[in-house]
Symmetry: C2
Subunit: 483 residues, 2 copies
């Protein structure tokens, strides 16, 4: 029992969130065994509980991709240097953080190979071979894989040298179709973020400074963490014919002309797990949205030695499982009930069902909901349906809480001082002239960056002079400190 | 239409299987767009049709893993050289084919990092941190990822520098549990191979010469390809405490003693796709077992311009989809019906449903089954159920055909000349003294290797002298040329 007791005491000592948000985050992910550090610099091991969340995210995303006609493929993880060098902006953006393979076995390679930091270049190369006529278009491919970016300072899930993601790459016959694809994938991301992960996000277009290396336009969704900082939770890029020209991806149009394809790419990563933790977590640890919680309900026998308790728990376990609830019966007899309470609260399981002898006599169970940390008594009869309703309610509550927080911490600002103050606290919504010099100055002064510009600019308009330089401005944009 | 016509003529010119099996294989995978070569030496791009097969295999495997209590994780793809070097046999086995990362961005790394050729070493390192007491055991983790082995000569799906696989790694408190795990995963593999992929396999134990680098025992399943060669389709290893001692993975036993864990690992890869092609394919192309076919039935409108035909096809498409059949309606109007016939036969779709005006008048459809290349007429009424039965029948036929072929090409041999002759044709079952010198000689003379030793040795016994040296022998073993 020594080990569990130790764990228990550690669990009780998660750094308070209000005291040191960053240390709280690290404590939570290590204590809940979402992931761990490894001997490989900047690379993490994702443990079963963390990976199960990722699998849930994958399923939700992947089924939606497939509904959109996207097909999965697998491209090589290594990219020859010469291939990477073909698109100038792209190289410039990624070369500083590429890990290079130089030797195969005992032989030095004639050409270095990059461990993919992203796969535009190899997709372009293959698309140039695979597309011939307009009939082959669109091609909408995606891959689930890991990529490598040699980061100087890393944080689990948020910024690691290697991370898991999906990268979609599509080619189209017309610029309109490409733009439509770019935006519809952003909308798909928004839907998953808000409906599945309970993360309210601002969607919009990135400034030129902040867009992807080689893109004509980048769109993003931005979530607010509980320290008021922004987390870019997903991006969708329209490349126009930029890469197509560099990699010579041409097709014969209906009219018989040779034309360049219009290309997009879009991706989300295990960052989303970081976003879930920093959006929903509290002093007791994780709070997982029911839709992606690997365990939605945990059953705890109270006074398990009393006749009938364990049997009732097993029966209930089978019933809830049959009803499609991801349930776990915690029948460990090596730890106390109190330890189990802490343990599952720490792990963020949305619902705890306590089954004790007195409850059983009365035909009820005690249900603890993790979102509000409240107990309710529910009849055993029809519990599965009641729990489903409760889980749906918890999902909604988590979203609403996060949205209220985000809205409260988003303020419109009209001058540089207000902006400087607001980004200490949350998002600053401001007018901007469009000049990169203003972004640079804001970055230098406050370490804040432009996040994105809402789509309906007219509706969001909040002035007509730039928050920084005071000149005429017609762009509404969010600024924030960011992960 | 020019492009499709060209494709059609190419499809017609797949190299005859009987003429050049190897070229037939390459033609089939390229023509069916399962995968393609890339500018990265020895690495392939798996295209949507090939990846969809892999996804089906993953689902079948992964759900079974989970039933066995295996949990998925993600480990770093890079492994520090010092970590790789800790287990001597293992290093010796893999070092010659490791791809090395030596630079991160513009900096030379202090220590080289191996792109994982397999992940025993990093799992061991993490297990040594994660396990403390007997209560933590067993730990049964798996990851789906790609690994890299710098191969000199490569063939798509069969031997590529990078390939996709799953690798399970488990640790246990006792040697008995580890052995049980090793064997139960082999049994799981056998079940998937035979019931899902329709691949009959011989399961058994590898000789010491052929076992995995660092394993105490390796078990494998061996399938026979249509050229009579063996393909090792999956392996399961028992490491005993071999790695645990090298990586210091200890736990406190129930009795309070510090003990080494007993470890296993097991894996299958995209090789299985190669096995499917080379086991079931024929002169017309692929024949996919229905359970893993991405498309189980294709609906072809005949005389689609006639009133009612296309509508009937769409209705049928919806019905079959609703019944859980993976169905595709091919309503292209840019290619002929004849082209479509060839195209879907080439792609190995198990069932083709032809819907024409005359059929419709009679309330029937014409169904072509790819396994026997035969047509039958079936009533439209209740077609979904009839097709399900038919698909199950096709699955069985493919297995039975493959098993009959395999059994016919497996012969018991009692001397070296018979063995030499038999391995030109298929598997040679023989008695063996257990001496590696005999394996070496057989390899040198005939380029054949020992495959595995059946579990029930007594039942398989076929003599008492070694097929090679003539000395006393008590081991039954299969020899074959192998991929």
């Amino acid at each position: 029992m020594a080990k569990e007791e130790k764990k228990q005491s550690i669990a009780a000592f998660i750094t308070p969130r209000s005291e040191d948000f960053s240390q709280w985050y690290t404590d939570v992910i290590i204590q809940t065994q979402l992931c761990d550090y490894t001997p490989v610099r900047g690379c993490m091991a994702i443990r079963p509980y963390g990976y199960a969340i990722w699998e849930r995210i994958q399923q939700e995303m992947d089924s939606r991709f497939k509904e959109q006609g996207v097909e999965n493929v697998s491209m090589p993880m290594l990219i020859p240097e010469s291939l990477l060098l073909k698109e100038a902006e792209h190289v410039e953006g990624f070369a500083p953080e590429v890990a290079w393979v130089t030797h195969g076995g005992t032989e030095k390679l004639q050409e270095r190979l990059a461990v993919r930091p992203t796969s535009e270049t190899i997709f372009c190369e293959m698309y140039s071979r695979w597309v011939q006529t307009w009939r082959d278009l669109p091609m909408k491919y995606n891959q689930w894989c890991s990529v490598m970016r040699w980061e100087k300072s890393t944080r689990p899930f948020l910024r690691t040298s290697e991370f898991l993601w999906q990268e979609g790459h599509t080619i189209h016959a017309t610029p309109e179709e490409a733009e439509e694809e770019t935006l519809s994938m952003l909308e798909l991301y928004r839907e998953v973020a808000e409906d599945v992960l309970a993360l309210p996000v601002y969607v919009g277009r990135k400034s030129d400074k902040e867009k992807f290396a080689g893109a004509r336009a980048t769109y993003s969704m931005e979530a607010m963490m509980q320290d008021g900082k922004a987390l870019q939770a997903g991006t969708s890029h329209n490349f126009g014919t930029n890469f197509a020209e560099a990699y010579n991806i041409q097709f014969q149009s209906k009219a018989g002309k040779l034309e360049y394809v219009h290309e997009t790419s879009w991706g989300v990563s295990t960052r989303l797990i970081g976003a879930i933790i920093m959006t929903h977590g509290d002093e007791r640890g994780l709070r997982l949205p029911p839709v992606i919680a690997p365990i939605q309900a945990v059953i705890l026998p109270i006074a398990a030695h009393k006749p009938g308790v364990l049997e009732a728990c097993e029966k209930l376990n089978a019933e809830l499982k049959a009803a499609g609830i991801r349930v776990k019966l915690d029948d460990r007899d090596t730890v106390s009930a109190g330890f189990k309470f802490n343990d599952w609260e720490l792990k963020g399981v949305p619902v705890r069902v306590e089954v004790g002898p007195r409850d059983l006599e009365n035909g009820v169970v005690t249900v603890f909901r993790r979102d509000l940390c409240e107990k309710v008594t529910l009849p055993l009869e029809g519990l599965a349906d009641a729990l489903k309703d409760l889980l749906a309610g918890i999902q909604k509550t988590l979203y609403n809480q996060a949205k209220a927080f985000r809205d409260e911490r988003t303020k419109t600002v009209s001058n540089i001082d207000e902006l400087g103050e607001q980004v200490q606290n949350g998002f600053a919504k401001a007018m901007w002239c469009g000049d990169q010099a203003c972004e640079d100055m804001i970055k230098e002064k406050f370490n804040a960056t432009s996040r994105n510009m809402p789509f309906d600019q007219e509706a969001h308009k909040c002035g007509d002079t730039c928050v920084c330089c005071g000149k005429k401005a017609d762009k509404v944009i969010y600024f924030a400190k960011a992960y």
